[in-house]
């Protein structure tokens, strides 16, 4: 079986259920690919081969006895920020929890219930606090298309492993960029759900008011499959929304003809010209798929960007209130600097930003989305940067460098809206991506559009470009 690196999780699950391949074979192969991927990208924190193979044998036995869930025996791996019973997640940091977790994070538990295996814990930016994949504790993540370039972060390991074809999909999280930037940098898809769509119970917090757990995959159908499994209310997380979870897989085939996709041309013009051309190409693909091109305006973009920072910086500083006081030297320079910055935001400014959030969300829905179904924006403002270009440490260049990288990303977290990231056609070049932004809880619509897009621009498997 030579195409395992290209299969979706959904297709692999079917092959395993149909006994065309055993979970053990699929898992051994995935472990091999993940090891090869790590050599290129530094994507693995802990390979869990023994446990994975034991799980695969159990999955094969379950299938033999007629018991199978939607992901039984499928090898996955996730960003190492989720609690798992008996384990200490690395958080991508030198500082770690003192005791092992007593139960699985809810998204992990739900994937386990569906039969999925976890074969490794994957790289992330330290404490998930950074959009580039730099990590001064673990070593930086490297892009599978060009190892001198960033993977994007903070879900760096998941995106690299998915792009390489080591795993079909994995979990990540997004506070200001962290599912979208790595998906774009590595040329794969991601879904950042509406804030509250997925439980955060047992996930390492960064800025709880902005954090969203989501999925990175090569195939949009895997985003639909996995989001459908992990979404929904959770007694362990009161912020998890009660809004019903649709059948996202069924919605994938919903017609997209006539839907309106809007571009804020003034805002997008702040991107590098090459990136603007990529957005035009992606818009061409979407119109070919039947969407109609419209216009929209995010009139308060910079204000919202500042409000996002006024939420995020002190929120993250409070999360790290203990460690930054007691173990500051154990932080890498970028994260330490950003956590420290949060202590300089006045409480009143933070509260103004949190009180204003509903007002700005309502305004964006009434104005920006007045005549469109989804908005399109670049993910990155510039062509894929090198690791060296963004190796700015914790010094004065940090805010400007990171601010430019998350220019089109961070404000969406303040609004809590769902975003689908799609890779732009590479034409032999380096990857980049566009984001489709939807109204609250419109993940199903976004993924239906994504499915239509992938009929024109099929998923790719990443290998270093010569």
């Amino acid at each position: 079986m030579t195409d395992l690196d290209r299969l979706s999780a959904r297709a692999l699950a079917k092959r395993i259920q149909d006994k065309k391949i055993s979970s053990e074979e699929a898992t051994k192969s995935a472990l091999g690919r993940l090891t090869a991927c790590h050599d290129v990208t530094n994507c693995v924190i802990a390979l869990e081969a023994e446990e994975a193979l034991a799980g695969a044998k159990a999955a094969d036995a379950a299938i033999a006895s007629g018991k199978a869930g939607p992901l039984t025996g499928v090898p996955l791996a996730h960003k190492d920020m989720f609690n798992r019973t008996g384990k200490i997640p690395s958080w991508g940091a030198k500082i770690r929890a003192e005791t092992p977790a007593r139960e699985d994070a809810t998204p992990i538990a739900r994937l386990k219930t569906a039969g999925a295996l976890q074969i490794a814990a994957l790289h992330l930016t330290e404490f998930a606090y950074g959009p580039t994949g730099h990590n001064y504790v673990l070593g930086h993540a490297r892009n599978p298309w060009d190892p001198t370039r960033i993977t994007g972060g903070s879900s760096s390991g998941t995106a690299a492993a998915v792009a390489y074809g080591a795993i079909p999909a994995g979990l990540g999280s997004d506070t200001a960029a962290s599912l979208r930037a790595p998906a774009a940098c590595c040329g794969v898809t991601s879904i950042k759900p509406t804030w509250g769509r997925v439980s955060r119970a047992g996930a390492m917090p960064l800025s709880p008011q902005l954090d969203a757990v989501g999925v990175v995959a090569r195939h949009v159908e895997d985003l639909a499959l996995m989001l459908g499994l992990i979404a929904g209310a959770d007694p362990r997380d009161p912020s998890a929304a009660n809004t019903p979870v649709p059948d996202y897989l069924a919605k994938l085939e919903a017609p997209v003809k006539g839907l309106k996709v809007g571009l804020d041309e003034r805002l997008a013009s702040e991107a590098h010209p090459d990136v603007q051309r990529m957005v035009d190409v992606a818009l061409g693909v979407l119109t070919k798929a039947g969407l109609e091109r419209g216009a929209c305006t995010f009139s308060d973009w910079q204000t919202i960007d500042h409000l996002t920072q006024l939420v995020q910086l002190p929120d993250a500083a409070a999360v790290h209130g203990n460690y930054i006081r007691t173990r500051a030297k154990d932080y890498g320079p970028q994260v330490r600097s950003r956590v420290e910055f949060g202590h300089f935001i006045p409480a009143v400014d933070h509260l103004v930003a949190t009180r204003a959030r509903g007002t700005y969300l309502e305004r964006v829905l009434d104005q920006t989305f007045k005549d469109i179904d989804v908005a399109i924006l670049p993910v990155l403002a510039d062509p894929l940067p090198t690791i060296a270009e963004l190796d700015v440490g914790g010094g004065p260049k940090l805010q400007a460098a990171l601010g430019r990288l998350v220019k089109f990303l961070r404000p969406i977290n303040y609004l809590g809206l769902p975003v689908l990231t799609l890779p732009v056609p590479r034409n032999g070049g380096l990857p980049n991506g566009i984001q489709l932004i939807g109204k609250p809880f419109a993940e199903g619509l976004l993924m239906a559009i994504g499915q239509a897009y992938q009929r024109e621009v099929p998923p790719e498997v990443a290998r270093p470009i010569a």
């Binding site: 600097s337 949190t354 009180r355």
Partner: protein
């Protein structure tokens, strides 16, 4: 009290070990964001509430 705390007492977050340059950077960035907060604050109704965000998300959920 350490010499560092003596030197920075009265400063925001004096309990953090930061260089003078880092403190100036942090203050400058906070001041930039404060300008936006001030502008937003004067436009915000008295009744604006932190729970408005979740209420709007739920009320405007796509059907």
């Amino acid at each position: 009290m350490s010499q560092r705390q003596d030197q920075t007492s009265g400063e925001p977050a004096s309990y953090l070990e930061m260089t003078k340059e880092q403190r100036e950077n942090a203050k400058a960035h906070a001041a930039l964001l404060s300008g936006t907060a001030a502008r937003v604050a004067v436009e915000l109704p008295l009744t604006a509430d932190v729970d408005d965000f979740r209420r709007v998300l739920a009320a405007r959920a796509a059907r």
